[in-house]
């Protein structure tokens, strides 16, 4: 660890992983209710469990972003964090708010806008924590060296915090409510979070491959430009059927098609930099997660997003399991895997030891990624059948659902693998084993040409 105050990130990553555990266990229970609908139905209904599943996800991803910022900004700005006390105060507010929210959901106190169900005091707490963060990290950057990575990271974090204001705006008119709700939801995950993702990925690639900073940063600006050029008007793909004007069908279809580009560029960027890079970095797990997040984000957010974004398709697929399939792979690829990449990279440094339990970490990558991919496939199949039976033929919802039960069983199975992978990841981060599970071979730089017969 080059700067002492980077240690703050350790506490953020621990809390993030704790909530990650809660999130996937919540998902597992929700998946089981699809298989066995009477499970917990009187004590803990599905809507409460889903709230915990989605809210825990959002908060742990944000904690990961904050932790990543506290970890990488000192290295980029070449100075200590402005105030460690404020950083811990921010974390305490967020953790108390999150636990308070989960507690109040369990006793039935919650809002009713999807993903924004936090009670008002928690929402205000999040706002205060975000303001503390922005002040703290901006003071650090302003006093130190400014790089493209900190520029883009800060811009993303400032904008996502500003957009949080719309979490407080809830018009009585349902269609307006929905329109402003997307200002938080879409402009987070398909605009500002992409800036954060691209910045963190650029930092990781810079460290792991040793490619020239100038090259990395140029790519970074091109990636985030394509993200915002497509993502801002791409919001239109949520405006097709909620009472907004018809022109959104064309604007949304065209611009959200372009939303594939930043994800394709991030994937290309990661692989090209690894190809060009001369560094043989010892932390292979962090490299796997970095390439993994870029790749799975391209498929989950890019390909699976495009699959149902054109308005002619979306007219039939809107609000079916196809959306659920896309949502799971996109969040996993773009944001979960990204956080696990920075955690995999930072933890050995924060704990002052060499990369450890890398093999277990890499096993967890394949368990989670394999499980998520399988879940996405079965939900996509379920969604296609649902779309046809319900939207084309006109069969009633529950009749259609009954015929999808085999897919929900397979989804539960794949979810179990994801949970197993998540727990293994947390174990590989927290528990220190004396030796690797598999001893690594000697470093062996690749020759320029392959030798026949070898």
């Amino acid at each position: 660890m080059k700067y002492q105050t980077q240690k703050v990130a350790y506490a953020y990553f621990l809390c993030a992983m704790g909530l990650f555990g809660i999130q996937v266990l919540g998902g597992l229970i929700a998946g089981w209710i699809y298989v066995s609908p009477n499970f917990l139905s009187e004590i803990l209904p599905f809507n409460i469990i889903r709230m915990i599943h989605t809210n825990a996800l959002i908060v742990w991803l944000l904690l990961g972003f904050f932790g990543a910022a506290y970890f990488l900004v000192p290295e980029e700005s070449e100075r200590e964090i402005y105030s460690v006390k404020l950083a811990y105060l921010q974390l305490i507010i967020l953790v108390v708010g999150t636990l308070g929210a989960v507690g109040s959901y369990l006793v039935g106190i919650h809002g009713g806008r999807e993903f924004l169900e936090q009670p008002l005091w928690v929402k205000i707490g999040i706002l205060i924590a975000a303001l503390i963060f922005l002040f703290n990290i901006s003071m650090t950057v302003l006093a130190g060296k400014k790089t493209a990575i900190t520029n883009v990271l800060l811009m993303g974090l400032w904008l996502l915090s500003l957009l949080w204001i719309f979490a407080f705006i809830n018009p009585d008119n349902l269609s307006l409510d929905k329109m402003y709700w997307w200002f938080v939801i879409h402009l987070w995950v398909e605009a500002t979070w992409e800036l954060v993702m691209a910045a963190i990925l650029a930092f990781l690639i810079l460290k792991l491959t040793g490619v020239d900073r100038e090259v990395v940063e140029k790519w970074l600006y091109v990636i985030v430009a394509t993200a915002l050029f497509s993502g801002i008007l791409g919001t239109g793909h949520h405006f097709y059927w909620i009472g907004l004007p018809g022109y959104w069908q064309w604007i949304g279809s065209i611009f959200s098609t372009f939303e594939v580009i930043p994800f394709f560029l991030m994937m290309s960027f990661a692989f090209i930099m690894v190809w060009k890079g001369r560094r043989n970095h010892p932390n292979k797990a962090a490299l796997l997660w970095s390439l993994g997040t870029a790749t799975v984000a391209f498929f989950g957010a890019g390909v699976w997003g495009f699959l149902h974004t054109l308005h002619g398709v979306n007219f039939y697929s809107h609000g079916t399991q196809i959306t659920a399939a896309h949502g799971h792979l996109a969040f996993y690829g773009a944001y979960v895997a990204l956080n696990l990449a920075i955690i995999s990279y930072a933890m050995p440094i924060l704990r002052g030891r060499e990369p450890y339990n890398q093999v277990l970490n890499m096993v967890s990558f394949w368990l989670m990624t394999g499980g998520m991919a399988f879940m996405t496939f079965v939900l996509t199949f379920a969604g296609i059948i649902q779309t046809h039976m319900q939207r084309v033929v006109g069969d009633y919802y529950m009749d259609v659902q009954d015929s999808l039960s085999i897919f929900y069983m397979m989804r539960f199975g794949s979810g179990a693998f994801v949970v197993l992978g998540a727990l293994l990841f947390i174990y590989s981060m927290l528990v220190v084993r004396k030796r690797e599970v598999i001893t690594p071979g000697p470093a062996n730089p690749a020759p320029a040409i392959s030798v026949p017969g070898e």
């Binding site: 269609s175 329109m179 140029k218 059927w241 959306t323």
Partner: protein, 150 residues
């Protein structure tokens, strides 16, 4: 990438282009807001009953099982057109009556069937909720959903 695209050029394109798209987005949003208020939702007044119903809808987090205009959880039926499906969209009295009976019959307790919790509502709240769902149903959603199955 070509040498003509330097880092500072890429940065300037990013800032200027983003600002350009933000401006377009804001203009379209203002128009959309106006369109919602004056056209797509104007078929039925936004009464106190409808607002009460929206609060009931939110307090019980209906959105985390159901979809409304296709948005929400995919665990339970679409409700944006439920009043049409039940054939009571044009009849507020029957709408409230049918909804009240439905709410009171939950949970069904049928084995192997998804369970809707029992939400204890006052008659005013039931009436508000049914008005809210009727209000949502009359919204011009560009022809969505494709059929009454929702």
């Amino acid at each position: 990438m070509a040498e003509i695209l330097t880092k500072s050029r890429a940065r300037n394109i990013f800032y200027a282009g983003s600002l350009f798209f933000v401006v377009i987005f804001v203009v379209l949003t203002v128009h959309s807001h106006y369109y919602v208020v004056t056209k797509s939702t104007a078929g039925m007044p936004l009464t106190d009953e409808v607002v009460l119903g929206k609060h009931v809808w939110e307090r019980h987090s209906c959105i985390n099982c159901h979809t409304l205009h296709g948005e929400g959880a995919y665990f339970a039926p679409e409700l944006g057109n439920v009043m049409t499906r039940w054939g009571v969209q044009e009849d507020p009295e029957s709408a409230a009556e049918v909804l009240g009976i439905w709410m009171e019959s939950q949970p069904s307790g049928v084995d192997g069937r998804r369970q809707m919790p029992r939400f204890v509502l006052t008659p005013e709240e039931v009436r508000g909720l049914s008005e809210f769902l009727r209000w949502a149903d009359q919204t011009d959603t560009q022809g969505w959903p494709p059929n009454d199955a929702g």
